[in-house]
Symmetry: none
Subunit: 228 residues, 4 copies
DNA sequence: GATGAATGAGGATTCATTCAT
DNA sequence: CATGAATGAATCCTCATTCAT
């Protein structure tokens, strides 16, 4: 956790600064451990220890282990999707380019961060935390898939992509991304041996296959022509 | 679980049969609950109750909860991959057809069964059960990906597919399959809302995109020519 | 707890018999400790130990410490008031005799038993257990005071007692009884030093004062005359 | 709590005054809460909050929760009994009048104040605080009962009261008083429903019964004659 | 074999108490 | 002095595991 403000401005400010930092440190530690070992198998004391505080301190900031979990999810999500989304506001280019930018920026904004562990966490704990699963689905799944859908739709309208079922096309983009995230948090259960996927290459390769897979083949009709 | 001895030879054998069926019933119940709630959040008493026996009886067959877990994984895997694999022994056809058959039969042999929950289970618990994760990876991941790899390689050699990185191609096949399995066990965390994917359609659509994505484009060189 | 059936009929019956006896033994132990140290200051482990079982066993019979408390109150009450009440069904005699019998039989049925500790317990914990306080008030206070009231009313109607405010008369009977119970459970806080009140003498003396205090004085008008 | 220094000599003394008032405010808050919820169920933080200071400040004045409790008892007692006692120094009148004055002034000096909660508190906590129970018994029970005893003895000597066991007579006076105090602090556990006793009437009525109960009946022998 | 009563180690949570600011 | 963040011992409660019947 290299933080840029490791220098303490004044001795008197120390406590105060810690206090403000505590929730974040705890959420960080909790995310790590929850992702690594699962919610139930993680002891609050471990979380506290990893955050450098005692058990009791954790409960000063989060009323229960459950609430800690929920806060972890909310915190890890917050902003990230918005950021990712807003990247597209000004983006100009073909649908192909957009899809590429979509996957690349998703990697930078989400996949490469600790938030990537959230996917595993939510898959594991969804049934134990129905309300937070609903929150996740509302805040992450829906907007995320909606964005991809818009890009794909645009591609179809512009004749860059074939006319195929939109949902299927969305999943063809989503599944490699989900797979990449999971592979990073599940010790060889997704990917052979201890082989760690190289994200850049992996994304480029998948993007290549998808773009090819969605593109018009010689015999395909262009969307306009079809309507005619 | 179609067992060959469904006919009851003698009335006295009834109890005997139940006794023999016990472990299977327990494993079944355990798989269901582990998949649904996770390993830690599942109580052995629940497992026993669902299998219709008492808590003590479970420990007659499995020395500990951990061993029960391991047995669940081993049992759920056993044979399934072998079956799937052996499907190809006699299969004749193009690589495209093989890939289609690969995904379809995988769905029938694995995806549609309760074993599909294993993926979620292993992803969640891999780090808590390193040895069983290794077993899973050795028994499932490696042979599964190897099979797909062979099919793809064959397609490239025969000029049906483009020359691309084999690993990437493998993941493009694996990830939609994994995604489908997860979507069936994680309440809306993968797929929008309560939308349940229609497996046949989903597989057909993904297969379509993949085949298109892997196929030769007009400008692509044939594999033979390349070597020349 | 000398139980007459210390001989164990058959070795196989032992477990079963304990199981049936457990709740009672736990309630007994709990009543003792709650009365002695208060609810909060009593640890469930102590209760279990005094009942001769382990911590976990207690929770097999009572879902929480709170429920244990409630069960203690319900159990200690149950039947006792009914018994006391039914004593009067067939009782014949003057109101004076009835009042004497009332206090004496109350002592035998309630005061002398461990249930006497309930009064202290309820006084201490009423505000922490509003629902059980309401139960106590409905099951104990109201029927108890109602019985005394009937006796006193009868005495007034028959001209044995003066016409005075019924409530005040009721309290003049109740307060010495409550005081006696409390004095037995509050180490010298009610009664000087370690002096233990002799209940028989105490009751006889208080009864004497009360009867004298309620009786007609020479100048008092008889109830009938008053109405005329 | 009328304190003699209600006038603020100088603006600078304001804070000083608060500082001096702190312990009293804390004791007040603590008495309230201890009486309401019991010692164990009261959190020191609540006490501090009610006194308008922080948790830490409480420990500046009282080294522990236990010591706070003891201070509450000592403080609530201090002076009150002395005051009550000294009322009698100059009191002239019959023993009957004295007994009436005794109960009335007790009500004004003690019963009507928050100190009345002490009785409930001591009854609940006596066994958890043996030393403070001994203190209470030495400072409250003994002098209080001694005073009543003197009044009653005087009445007997003067022939106003019958010759009966002094202790019993004392308890006939004490128990209604104790009962009244408890009824004010135990939500319907003493008195039916939400009926609040009217203290003046209650005391008058009990006094009436007691005086009647202790008085000479026509057939009673006068004390002198008895000795003859 | 089967049962389920009993156990007790383990973990979440509370709260009196400390102490740096 | 006053504060309130931090602590960790204490306690409730859970649940895998044992074992007498």
């Amino acid at each position: 956790m290299p933080s840029p403000n490791d220098h303490i401005p004044a001795p008197s400010a120390r406590r105060e600064r810690r206090k403000e930092a505590r929730p974040g440190e705890l959420l960080n530690a909790a995310l790590d451990l929850f992702v690594e070992k699962g919610f139930a198998a993680t002891r609050v004391e471990e979380v506290a220890a990893r955050a450098g505080v005692s058990k009791g301190t954790l409960f000063l900031y989060f009323p229960s282990k459950d609430e800690l979990f929920k806060a972890v999810v909310r915190e890890s999500i917050s902003g990230r999707l918005v950021e990712w989304n807003s990247d597209f506001e000004t983006f100009q280019g073909t649908a192909c380019e957009m899809l590429g930018y979509c996957m690349t920026s998703w990697w930078e904004r989400v996949g490469a961060t600790k938030a990537s562990g959230l996917t595993k966490l939510m898959i594991s704990e969804a049934s134990n935390f129905p309300d937070i699963a609903a929150f996740y689905q509302h805040e992450v799944i829906q907007p995320g898939q909606a964005l991809i859908r818009r890009v794909l739709q645009r591609g179809m309208e512009r004749g860059e992509f074939r006319q195929i079922d939109l949902d299927s096309a969305v999943y063809s983009v989503v599944s490699p991304m989900v797979f990449l995230m999971l592979s990073r948090h599940s010790q060889g259960v997704c990917v052979s041996d201890q082989v760690t996927l190289d994200p850049k290459k992996y994304i480029a390769a998948q993007l290549g296959i998808i773009l090819n897979g969605l593109s018009l083949r010689p015999g395909d009709a262009a969307p306009d022509e079809k309507k005619v």
